[in-house]
């Protein structure tokens, strides 16, 4: 089960955080800060896994963004890399060659997509098409009724 997922930039700025375990805010901040520093300090040639405290951190860099998942010990690290890649593909399809700015300005959309892919720390849908269909239908529902209230 995934314990949390963080997206952050090369400069160490947090872009998205999704927690599937209950921690007090203070602890979340501490974990985030420490983990970002540790991951950014690793060299590009190193492997994508990091045993960190009691979790297994799987991370991968896409352009300027690091995607970083904290998994439990029994989880398949290589599959987590595939999961990250799937999320990136979905973002890419949704935004049309996604870049960091898309995620900054539409962070809520990035969350919505993640929530259609992963629920409670486990993968819920293995078909890209189904995820995008569900997102599109909900976007439509949103725009029909009250356009412009959010943005």
């Amino acid at each position: 089960m995934m314990q949390f997922m963080l997206l952050f930039s090369r400069q160490g700025k947090l872009r998205l955080q999704k927690w599937y375990v209950a921690h007090p805010d203070k602890l979340k901040k501490k974990i985030t800060r420490e983990l970002i520093t540790t991951v950014l300090a690793r060299k590009p040639k190193m492997c994508s896994f990091l045993e960190w405290k009691d979790v297994k951190v799987v991370y991968k860099r896409y352009a300027s963004l690091y995607f970083c998942c904290a998994m439990e010990q029994e989880d398949n690290e290589l599959l987590t890399l595939e999961l990250i890649h799937r999320y990136v593909e979905l973002l890419d399809k949704y935004f049309g060659s996604v870049c960091e700015l898309d995620i900054i300005f539409n962070f809520e959309k990035a969350y919505f997509i993640l929530d259609e892919l992963v629920l409670g720390g486990e993968l819920q849908e293995t078909s890209k098409k189904n995820v995008l269909k569900a997102i599109a239908a909900q976007d439509l529902l949103q725009e029909d009724l009250n356009d412009g209230l959010l943005h």
Binding site: A22, S48, R86, E108, L119, G120, E122, L149, L150
Partner: protein
């Protein structure tokens, strides 16, 4: 909310018209708030942190003011902005209630943002949960699948045990929904609910099995996840689900054999996510079950041979397959296939693949050691990898591969690794080397050499118990080995002292000081030439020192400002001993001068020893040779563990101090001169009798002295009278502690410490698990604040247990910190300790659920129990 579907409904339309009118009025009344996009732009435009803070503060103030207004149409925009601000690290808790209002709103946008906010701003610790539980209940009954979806998603992310209990029946109903979109989400919600509250599992069982008959991959994968959790939760459920093995095999077979399906394809592999989940569930179902294993042998072989390995996806599946093959009772040919796959992984260019290979080999090494041994060279090569993750795995695996045949070669590599490794590895690596050397040492000499090398290379990272265990080994060795030890250690001591590196190698200095103090006569005598000092590289770098030179080096170390007090205590006592080992008058005199200087040392303990020892050069000179005689061979101690020593002082320290106390008692027997309160600090300890072996040693030592009762009776009194130290500040026990106790003995506890411990409460202890000679005891002790320290001790009478794992859980209001266990392998008469720190600010009654897993002769055992009879005043 779907107006077009509901057809003509006057009430509905009037409500809509009202809402539109209200919104229009509000838009006129309130100025339109900053758009989310504009706020993000403003924040990004800020050039300094202070500037950013001021933008954020201004916006937060504005958002707070709008929250005070009721029913704003802009609420969702404001919450979205707040969520962005929250991500930047600013406080946003004041938005929690607003999220709930959004969730309660009929608009989909409001709900979507409201639930998002709830997931980010609330977690199960918040009090608003009762409110959100009601909202969730409503939305779980909605007609719009996406509203149900949002509610399920939120429940899955932030379900507290109370919420889980309240909403479990709704979730169970939704698992049976015909809608795949809802079904899959409900299945994962059930998974989370069971995780939080395992008791709720029963109610989900009937609905779960049918999930595997679905075609939809989302439902299949979530169903498999749910079943996996259930099987791991209870052995009964595991048995219940054994019958689905054929279904799982069929699904897996269809995935492999089915042609290209674009929807689920990942680089030519059909739905790797689902494949991996199924493989994992098969592993759990096939473990220790020959029949189930038989049923999955073929499909595993098929997956292992047919999977494309050029891409990460293929390797992902192979990795999972290998784990399953190794865990179930698979055919031997299949196991060979699996180990070969790992061998290929080890040679892969991709670091990630190499990492999982090491990881998997470590997990399979106990199943098939010889197969893993074949890859030894490659594994040792990985010790040199620049990547810390790979080095860590390689180190653990290397230690697992050490045996009687390869110990010399392996140790050479591991010692080299120890020398260059990072600080965080040194402690672990050095104790593993010490353990391996103890187990497989081909000869005494080799064992001693290895220990000396560890002392040299691990420096101050060495665990304290290695010092005492090394001393014990030297003390019980043959005389020529003792001389050899003294000579080797002298070389290291001299080099460290001359090069100024002694501060980084204090454990080495301590062992060297003890050994040279005991066997210094052998070090400087002509007889030592007979002992070969040629090392593995064929070099003999030993130069026999003169007595004066040894003393000079001691002086240099003793006067160094950086050595720790306990290292200096070792050195000082050792120096005193040398006065009876060295023969010339000049060196005796030199030693006396150095010891005298400590009579005015700034540190009270060293001063005390200085004063006491210098008395042995004056009026009590006749006692010196007998008092400073060589220690008798020490008996091996039952591996005193450091954690235990640190945390259970109340248990262990009396054992250490009793001998001295008794010796003292013996000496002052019948004396009236000491009734002035000096020994009253620890009356209860003096009163206790004991049969401790080491105390017998010391009593033997004393009985060997032919002393008339009057001399010892007078000795302490006179010594104290001569002593400038305030008697009450120096417990009388210390007087003889320095003379008789081996230097490794911790100092007797200061009276104040003893009082503190008493104040901390008596220790509570219960045996909580006892089966087949395996026993787990848990003891609890109060700590400062609303906290307690629990110590779990596992012992095994007959069997050696491997992979011992201790897990614990506490109610959510209590915080649990598990320290690292003392080991994972439990040998008969050995002990594994695990310390848990429990913080309980709310002082809820402590319940502790523990789970213990281990292997006996390769058979895994899992036991769990719950302890709820902790003393009520544990946290007061």
């Amino acid at each position: 909310m779907n107006g077009s579907e509901s057809g003509f409904n006057p009430a509905f339309n009037i409500a809509t018209i009202k809402q539109v009118v209200n919104e229009a009025i509000e838009r006129v009344r309130m100025p339109t708030p900053t758009r989310l996009r504009d706020l993000i732009r403003q924040i990004r435009a800020a050039r300094t942190a202070a500037e950013e803070r001021s933008v954020v503060n201004k916006e937060c103030a504005y958002i707070r003011s709008t929250f005070r207004e009721e029913d704003s149409v802009w609420r969702c925009r404001n919450i979205a902005k707040l969520l962005y601000i929250h991500m930047l690290g600013y406080p946003a808790h004041f938005g929690q209630l607003e999220c709930l209002k959004l969730i309660a709103s009929p608009r989909f946008t409001d709900k979507r943002v409201g639930y998002l906010g709830a997931m980010l701003l609330l977690d199960e610790r918040q009090d608003v949960h009762l409110l959100i539980t009601n909202c969730l209940k409503n939305d779980l009954n909605s007609n719009t699948q996406f509203v149900v979806g949002l509610a399920l998603c939120t429940l899955g992310a932030i379900a507290s045990p109370e919420m889980a209990r309240d909403l479990a029946s709704e979730v169970e109903r939704l698992i049976k929904s015909p809608n795949a979109y809802i079904k899959k989400k409900a299945a994962l919600c059930a998974f989370r609910i069971i995780r939080r509250v395992p008791d709720l599992m029963e109610m989900f069982l009937p609905a779960t099995r049918s999930l595997l008959t679905e075609k939809n991959h989302g439902v299949l994968i979530t169903g498999v996840t749910l079943i996996t959790e259930m099987c791991e939760n209870s052995p009964d459920t595991l048995n219940h689900f054994k019958k689905i093995v054929p279904n799982l095999v069929r699904i897996l077979k269809n995935l492999i054999l089915a042609g290209y399906s674009p929807e689920h394809d990942v680089s030519g592999v059909s739905d790797p996510f689902l494949q991996v989940k199924i493989l994992r569930l098969l592993r759990i179902l096939g473990k220790n079950d020959a029949e189930a294993s038989e049923a999955m042998n073929d499909i595993l072989a098929q997956v292992a041979t047919n999977t494309e390995t050029s891409k990460n996806v293929g390797n992902t599946i192979l990795y999972e397959t290998v784990l399953s093959i190794m865990d179930i009772k698979s055919e031997s040919s299949l196991r060979v296939l699996a180990v070969n796959i790992l061998g290929r992984f080890l040679l892969n260019n991709d670091k990630n693949i190499r990492y999982v290979a090491l990881n998997t080999l470590l997990r399979t090494v106990h199943v098939d050691t010889s197969a893993v041994q074949r890859h030894r060279t490659t594994i040792l090569e990985c010790l040199k990898d620049p990547d810390i993750s790979i080095r860590r795995r390689a180190m653990e695996l290397s230690f697992a591969l050490v045996n009687g045949q390869n110990i010399r070669g392996m140790m050479k590599e591991l010692l080299a690794f120890l020398e260059r490794s990072d600080a965080e590895f040194k402690a672990h690596c050095s104790s593993a080397v010490v353990l391996a050397a103890e187990r497989y040492a081909p000869s005494d000499k080799w064992h001693l050499d290895t220990l000396f090398k560890v002392l040299l290379k691990a420096g101050n990272y060495l665990r304290d118990d290695t010092v005492s265990s090394t001393i014990q080994i030297i003390s019980s060795a043959a005389t020529e080995r003792q001389a050899y030890g003294a000579m080797r250690l002298w070389t290291s001591l001299e080099q460290s002292a001359v090069s100024g590196l002694a501060t980084e190698k204090q454990p080495l200095i301590q062992v060297a000081a003890w050994t040279i103090g005991e066997y210094g006569d052998l070090l400087v005598s002509e007889a030592s030439s007979a002992i070969s000092m040629v090392d593995e590289d064929g070099v003999d770098d030993f130069v026999r020192p003169t007595e004066e030179y040894v003393i000079d080096i001691y002086q240099k170390l003793l006067w160094s400002t950086q050595l720790s007090i306990s290292t200096k205590e070792f050195l000082l006592l050792s120096l005193a001993k040398l006065s009876t080992r060295f023969t010339t008058q000049a060196s005796q005199e030199k030693i006396r001068v150095i010891i005298d200087t400590f009579g005015s040392h700034i540190h009270i303990e060293l001063q005390q020893r200085g004063v006491e020892l210098s008395q042995l050069f004056r009026q009590y000179g006749h006692l010196r040779p007998a008092l400073l005689e060589r220690m008798p061979a020490m008996e091996p101690v039952a591996a005193p563990h450091r954690d235990e020593q640190e945390l259970d002082l109340s248990d262990t320290s009396p054992d250490h101090t009793k001998p001295d106390q008794d010796a003292l008692l013996d000496l002052i027997n019948g004396s009236d001169s000491l009734t002035n309160g000096d020994v009253e600090h620890q009356p209860e300890q003096i009163a206790t009798t004991n049969n401790n072996t080491s105390s017998n040693d010391i009593l033997d030592l004393l009985s060997g002295l032919d002393l008339t009762p009057s001399v010892p009776a007078a000795a302490p009194a006179v010594l104290l009278a001569n002593n400038n130290v305030e008697p009450s500040a120096a417990p009388a026990a210390l007087l003889l502690d320095g003379l008789f106790a081996p230097p490794a003995t911790p100092q007797p506890p200061h009276p104040a410490d003893a009082n503190e411990r008493n104040a901390a409460g008596a220790e509570w202890e219960r045996a909580v698990l006892e089966r087949g000679g395996v026993r787990v005891c848990v003891s609890a002790r109060r700590a400062a604040g609303a906290a307690a320290t629990l110590t779990a001790r596992a012992t095994s009478q007959l069997h050696t247990l491997t992979d011992f794992l201790f897990q614990a859980a506490v109610p959510k209001k209590i915080q649990l910190d598990m320290m690292s266990p003392s080991g994972t392998t439990l040998s008969p008469q050995g002990e594994i300790t695990q310390v848990l720190k429990v913080t309980n600010p709310t002082k809820t009654p402590l319940r502790l659920r523990i789970r213990v897993s281990y292997n006996i002769d390769g058979t895994p055992v899992l036991e769990q129990t719950e302890i709820n009879n902790f003393p009520a005043d544990l946290f007061n």
